[in-house]
């Protein structure tokens, strides 16, 4: 059996075409099947599982999969922090070409500065960290984000390290590309032990026939930063306005509904579309759209005074940083779901204690807990005394992890239908999440205080009148 990890998302079409060309057609992959486990046509010995690209290097390094296809950027992100991981870059597949760019705010925009070193925002936090060290920055902070890194400069970061198809794409985000740090594309990667001990030729041979081996990827760093970027580090921004962060993605319709109920509308932020900087209709209020996962940290840092996010992400932040000043100030009453611990449907256990006893009886040493909420999962594992456990970070497609790649999944559940479709059952309810308004326990004065209090009050009222019950889906 050869275990192959393939990417979901935008690169799926190109990857499917490449596999077909190599004679490794995967049923339903090109057509966008929603199943997480697929088969290759006429090759029973190949088992395929779909993951978000970011998760593939981790799964290969863990040894759960022998081969995988994913962006080189995510491989380097893992290896930069954990250089001895059991992952081998086999060859460049030549698809999904682009680059990792270091970018600053466009020259015309003033750099605010945090007063305590440069802020580098990135989804690739380990690479950003390595970059800061190589640039010998005297003081810096890496702001790890789930996405939308392009939205941060100049107000919320001086530098961004981000993936883009080319320099022009970086410019269309209003940023100035300083350097292409890494040329990226989709690579074939392998688990070191699998490569050393297992016959992978039914897949490896076919892909290598089309894509001969190439050299090691090279990082290219700027020798120095532009003077205005370096200077920004020492300038502390004084801000007179109130800043509100709004979520993109799944939470966007809930946020729009809550704002509408509160009589607020920001052109550019609609149920089905959003720009990063919607127009503010209130004097003294700035609005920006970022990922809900990143909001608690941004509010804690003081970059935003208010943010609309999910309680799930607030609690995940607080589990990691218990003394963070962020708190919920209004329940918006929408987007209700439960965070649950789930196990494989056929496991004869009704409590997590029984489940642990089953896994131990099966000889499993480390219980693998998969979750997007890594801090909630880690806290849960300690709280429930799981003993020897591993938290496996997941960035999506999480319901396919149990039982092959994890024993326990900490996951959001609305109606339970999606869990059941993936042969999962909830074993414990951790907490309930709804869309909420968060702020930092920090004194505000004058006009800013009045504006914040007004917004909190309107949104709190809108939340109280929200329809109850889970959404269908």
């Amino acid at each position: 059996m050869i275990r192959l990890a393939l990417p979901t998302g935008d690169v799926r079409g190109e990857t499917a075409a490449l596999l077909k060309e190599a004679g490794l057609e995967v049923s339903g992959y090109a057509a966008g099947s929603r199943a997480y486990r697929l088969r290759t046509e006429g090759r029973e010995q190949v088992r395929v599982r779909l993951f978000r690209q970011k998760d593939i290097p981790i799964q290969i390094a863990l040894g759960n999969y022998d081969l995988g296809i994913c962006s080189l950027a995510w491989v380097e992100e893992l290896l930069r922090r954990y250089p001895s991981e059991a992952i081998v870059r086999v060859c460049d597949l030549g698809i999904d070409r682009g680059g990792l760019y270091l970018a600053a705010a466009d020259g015309g925009q003033a750099l605010a500065g945090s007063g305590r070193g440069l802020r580098i925002v990135s989804e690739y936090a380990n690479l950003a960290e390595a970059l800061a060290v190589r640039l010998r920055l005297p003081a810096y902070r890496v702001l790890p984000v789930w996405g939308a890194a392009e939205a941060y400069p100049p107000e919320d970061a001086e530098l961004a390290l981000l993936a883009a198809p080319d320099e022009e794409a970086v410019r269309t985000w209003g940023l100035r590309p300083l350097q292409q740090v890494l040329e990226t594309s989709a690579w074939l990667v392998a688990n070191r032990d699998s490569l050393a001990h297992r016959d992978l030729t039914p897949v490896l041979g076919r892909l290598l026939a089309h894509h001969p081996m190439v050299g090691e990827p090279q990082f290219c760093l700027p020798r120095r930063l532009p003077a205005e970027v370096s200077r920004a580090a020492s300038a502390l921004a004084e801000r007179g306005s109130v800043r509100l962060a709004l979520p993109d993605g799944h939470q966007q319709p809930q946020a729009v509904a809550a704002l509408t109920a509160a009589g607020l509308h920001f052109p550019g932020y609609e149920e089905d579309r959003a720009v990063r900087r919607p127009t503010s209709t209130m004097e003294g209020l700035e609005v920006k759209v970022i990922r809900p996962q990143d909001m608690p940290q941004q509010v804690a840092l003081g970059s935003f005074d208010l943010a609309i996010t999910g309680r799930d992400w607030l609690l995940d932040h607080l589990r990691r940083f218990p003394s963070s000043p962020v708190e919920e100030v209004a329940d918006l009453g929408r987007g209700r779901f439960a965070i649950v611990a789930t196990v494989y449907q056929d496991l004869p256990a009704t409590t997590v204690g029984e489940a642990v006893a089953q896994w131990r009886a099966q000889g499993r040493k480390a219980i693998r807990v998969a979750s997007e909420y890594t801090n909630v999962a880690d806290h849960y594992a300690r709280w429930r005394h799981l003993g020897h456990y591993q938290v496996i970070p997941v960035s999506g497609a999480s319901e396919g992890f149990v039982p092959e790649d994890a024993e326990l999944l900490i996951e959001g559940m609305e109606t339970g239908r999606s869990l059941a479709a993936n042969r999962l059952k909830p074993i414990e309810r951790l907490f309930e999440s709804t869309t909420c308004l968060i702020a930092a326990r920090r004194p505000l004065e004058g006009r800013r205080r009045k504006l914040v209090e007004g917004l909190v009050s309107r949104l709190r009222e809108a939340g109280a009148g929200a329809p109850t019950g889970p959404r269908e889906g």
């Binding site: 981790i58 390094a61 863990l62 040894g63 954990y82 250089p83 001895s84 991981e85 059991a86 305590r116 070193g117 802020r119 960290e129 390595a130 800061a132 060290v133 190589r134 010998r136 920055l137 005297p138 003081a139 810096y140 902070r141 890496v142 702001l143 790890p144 020798r223 120095r224 608690p296 940290q297 804690a300 840092l301 932040h317 990691r320 940083f321 218990p322 003394s323 963070s324 962020v326 040493k365 480390a366 020897h388 591993q390």
Partner: protein, 416 residues
């Protein structure tokens, strides 16, 4: 993320068993005693420091920084990372700048662990005996430190000690004369510090006035002031900036020679620290590096903003404790008395503990037996009648005694 090893101990971490711990303590005690005798005072810095203390240029090299244990603390929501101390000199420089910067010379020493990632089973936690001499001591300070280091090694009974001397200014002078930009110098210096000597070809290509090959400096390891005179004669005309480092090295070399401690000279002592600015030295014992240090005049300024010259060294406890003479020189240890309660009653048990304490107060080593197999040099049984029965290990002869004074009289008179 590979499978966890069978052992419950973390990879790269070591347990010290009683015999190893005794050796560890011997190194620590001899080091601390010698330092105190020389007028140095002990300090200790925290295990966790801010990462930015180590990332500023001129502190740790990129290669070393890629091995630090850094993480976000429980209140690290601002994104500021902390680190398990990867080096002890930089925190001591911080400690000096924050607490002791009075303009007078500070003589400090410490015994601390440092944490650096290493692949496989190689050690990731190492203990260092460190000395820092902070203040304007000039080259005399460097000479003092090399002598202090060798005296500690001698006091430990370690023979075949060798001092290898260098000067950070040698490499820097060559790089500057070769006309590299400051950024290029930093990159080349990082390569040299990381042990990459292929840089020599690039350098020679740029130094046209050179009358002698750079190999004379980088590949030949000389000894004494004769070799230094040769370097002055052959390389200094083309690289006049070598004059000051060579002069400083000469003073240290000659002081060591006068003190009967000859040394070897090596231009590039490849280390992963880039804070050294003057003389640099390593201590070798049995051909193995057991410590080293040097002058770091810029470091305190980088940390605190106010420059204070300084130099220091560290000795590695791990290799030193393994090099201690076998067997460990026996201490004049007091005999061990195992005290037994005749019956298991609370009264007898309490008397057994009280008796053991009284024996300890008289300088003996005594403990209460917790199982029947526990033995020592003497066995003292505490009961009702007679109150005390004393027997030497391996002897059938017992002594019945009515009070502890009698017991002590026998023990102290036995000579065991």
């Amino acid at each position: 993320m590979a499978d966890l090893p069978e052992s419950l101990r973390c990879r790269g971490m070591r347990d010290l068993l009683p015999e190893e711990m005794a050796r560890f303590r011997r190194v620590e005690e001899v080091f601390a005693t010698t330092c105190r005798q020389w007028g140095y005072q002990e300090v200790r810095t925290p295990t966790i420091e801010y990462l930015h203390l180590f990332t500023t240029a001129g502190t740790l090299s990129p290669q070393m920084l890629s091995r630090v244990y850094s993480f976000l603390d429980w209140d690290g929501w601002s994104g500021e990372r902390v680190v398990l101390r990867p080096d002890a000199t930089i925190p001591t420089a911080r400690l000096y700048a924050e607490h002791l910067d009075s303009g007078r010379i500070a003589k400090l020493f410490y015994v601390q662990n440092v944490f650096r990632f290493a692949a496989g089973e190689e050690s990731r936690e190492d203990w260092q005996c460190g000395v820092e001499l902070i203040g304007d001591t000039g080259t005399r300070g460097d000479a003092e430190l090399t002598l202090l280091g060798t005296e500690v090694l001698e006091a430990l009974g370690i023979t075949e000690v060798e001092v290898v001397l260098s000067h950070a200014g040698l490499v820097r002078a060559v790089l500057a004369r070769a006309g590299f930009s400051p950024e290029e110098q930093a990159a080349l210096y990082d390569r040299i510090l990381d042990g990459d000597l292929t840089v020599l070809d690039e350098l020679e290509g740029r130094l046209h006035d050179l009358k002698a090959p750079l190999r004379l400096l980088f590949e030949v390891q000389g000894s004494g002031s004769g070799y230094l005179a040769n370097l002055r004669g052959s390389l200094q005309p083309a690289i006049p900036e070598l004059a000051e480092p060579l002069e400083q090295l000469t003073l240290v070399t000659e002081t060591l020679a006068e003190a009967g401690r000859p040394c070897r000279i090596q231009a590039a002592l490849a280390r992963s620290f880039e804070y050294y600015s003057g003389s640099v030295f390593s201590f070798l014992a049995g051909g193995q590096r057991v410590g080293g240090g040097g002058r770091y005049d810029e470091l305190i300024g980088l940390v605190s903003g106010r420059g204070v010259p300084a130099s220091g060294f560290e000795l590695d406890v791990g290799p030193l404790s393994r090099l201690l003479p076998e067997p460990l020189k026996a201490e004049q240890a007091a005999p061990v008395v195992v005290v037994r309660a005749e019956r298991g009653t609370a009264r007898d048990l309490a008397r057994a503990y009280a008796s053991a304490r009284a024996l300890r107060e008289r300088g003996l080593r005594a403990g209460v037996a917790l199982d029947s197999g526990e033995g020592g040099d003497w066995e003292l049984c505490v009961g009702e009648d007679p109150p005390y029965t004393l027997r030497a290990a391996g002897s059938r002869k017992t002594r019945h005694l009515s009070d502890l004074e009698g017991v002590l009289a026998v023990l102290e008179g036995s000579g065991r």
